[in-house]
Symmetry: C2
Subunit: 324 residues, 2 copies
């Protein structure tokens, strides 16, 4: 009955299409191997995330992304989730002057075929963000290099209120205030380091070279920022949704599960509380086997309960993150 107005509105909305843009799909693909979180990269310098243009024969954005990742890395993707879409002002096509829209995704898998390839590879994500791994305590880079240089940057601000603002942001993001370290603030930390021109990416073009970049492997374009976004999302998400299981083999011990979580969070976990939480949530069930790969009593093997598959979109896996 309201078809007429509906169609009129629709025509108004679709007429006068904007200029053409091209759409890029970028993937942050994560696996955890031997307690190390790793990211899938392409290029010999491991400085790029798998990516490629969205094409006509892609049925959807997701399937386009899968196609690109599989073409570039031979690696099939399981779970994927959208991260963020942005349009860089300076991203222009070679021939035509055309905006590029980048749509980034987070993907979770298990690492396979560890043989080295010239076209792609897996790299520990703490190579890119050495200040993010707090499993063995606060990394020395933080008090020795990052914090002094960030504070110097805050102090060199012109206006006094800007100085205060910078100081407060640094203190908050890097856990210098009473709240302590918050492992979720990966992106905020990277953006501060970028703003303070301490990462290599922020120095491009300006060859003044008097300030050496801080440790941490750089990437092309804004790929490192996208990686930071993916890590932040994952660190947030494992706390309220059982996505860790996408990274686990079909059967695993509770310690392996814990090590995976710790690898992602960059922080240690209270073992007893971790087990209490996992078991009381009925997320796993025993397979019946036990293994004794290490010392200590044999550990039971578990598998993810398929029953919760339907509900897992909302079920929560809360994690007891500790400071020790």
């Amino acid at each position: 009955m309201q078809d007429k107005t509906t169609l009129a509105t629709k025509r108004a909305a679709t007429s006068n299409r904007g200029q053409a843009v091209s759409a890029d799909l970028i993937a942050v693909v994560i696996a955890v191997t031997n307690g190390e979180p790793r990211v899938l990269t392409i290029g010999q310098a491991a400085g790029a995330l798998p990516s490629g243009p969205f094409e006509l024969d892609h049925r959807s954005l997701q399937s386009g992304l899968r196609a690109w990742v599989e073409r570039q890395t031979n690696h099939p993707l399981g779970y994927i989730e959208q991260l963020y879409t942005f349009a860089d002002a300076d991203r222009i096509d070679d021939e035509h002057v055309r905006r590029v829209i980048s749509i980034s995704y987070l993907g979770l898998t298990r690492e396979e075929q560890p043989e080295r390839s010239p076209t792609h590879g897996w790299h520990g994500w703490y190579d890119y963000f050495p200040w993010e791994d707090h499993r063995a305590g606060v990394p020395p880079i933080l008090p020795d290099i990052l914090v002094p240089r960030l504070q110097a940057w805050a102090d060199e601000a012109g206006a006094p209120n800007m100085r205060g603002d910078r100081r407060q942001r640094v203190e908050f993001a890097f856990g210098l205030d009473d709240r302590g370290w918050n492992e979720e603030l990966v992106l905020q930390r990277y953006e501060l380091l970028y703003e303070a021109a301490l990462v290599a990416e922020a120095m491009r073009g300006q060859h003044n070279g008097h300030t050496p970049a801080i440790p941490g492997r750089p990437m092309i374009g804004d790929h490192r920022r996208i990686l930071a976004t993916g890590i932040a999302r994952l660190r947030t998400k494992i706390k309220y949704r059982p996505v860790v299981f996408e990274l686990m083999p079909p059967a695993f011990t509770l310690l392996q599960l814990q090590r995976t979580v710790e690898a992602l969070a960059g922080q240690l976990v209270h073992k007893q509380n971790f087990r209490r939480l996992i078991e009381q949530q009925d997320l796993v069930e025993e397979t019946g086997e036990t293994v004794s790969e290490t010392r200590g009593p044999p550990a039971k093997r578990f598998r993810f309960r398929q029953t919760v598959l339907a509900e897992r979109t909302v079920a929560g896996t809360k994690l007891p993150l500790s400071r020790a």
Copy 2:
């Protein structure tokens, strides 16, 4: 030192651009007026969200969106946040065969100029989703119309495991199991109703007309789905981030704040607990004035504490949602 490989990788990634697409920006703009959450629409049937193509002179996606909303509705936007990006398979330009990528945003403001306009207007979001308002108890549409028709849809499935799967999804999304109603599942509910072909949008093109659509105002294209996404995001977000304040006037009473939260959540809140939570989080401060607009003792007026502006990106506003 690794400039060479970096540039090589970059060239490889940027060459061979994909086909051109056009990018659409779509806005879900929300305000709460007199305890009713409302959404900004265009078109006489109020069946479309403000939207327009991303153009060359837009500095960024966000500024393009702001430009479109202000052009179409004369309404300036405050807080905005990205919702989701998708590429519909059937969305094709009139002249060239071109994919359309839609980037949707959630915007929060206060409603101004309530005079009626032919080009745009504000509409209560529960007009579009009558089953989502549980402030006065479970709405009758739910047990009377929706649940029976959804169960019929589940039962008409072919395979028995598909039947079970549908039943479980319906029970979970509509709170028929022991977990009860979860106000965050707005999108899941809409998608189930769409899948069951109970909403008008799902019947387009197929003029079989033997099944009347359920109550709830439809929108063009997938705009209603996008609105559902925005509502879901907002309902989730008010629980852990103080975004409600974007919807409030500069000064307000705690009851007004509570009514706003209840309007968004579609659920009532335990007053004493609400106040305890708000005050212990130091989110507000007294202005010193009191007002007695209604009966009862005069209420103190509060304002949002500017001090928390910097931290609010992470501060939490937890809400005590009750069932009564």
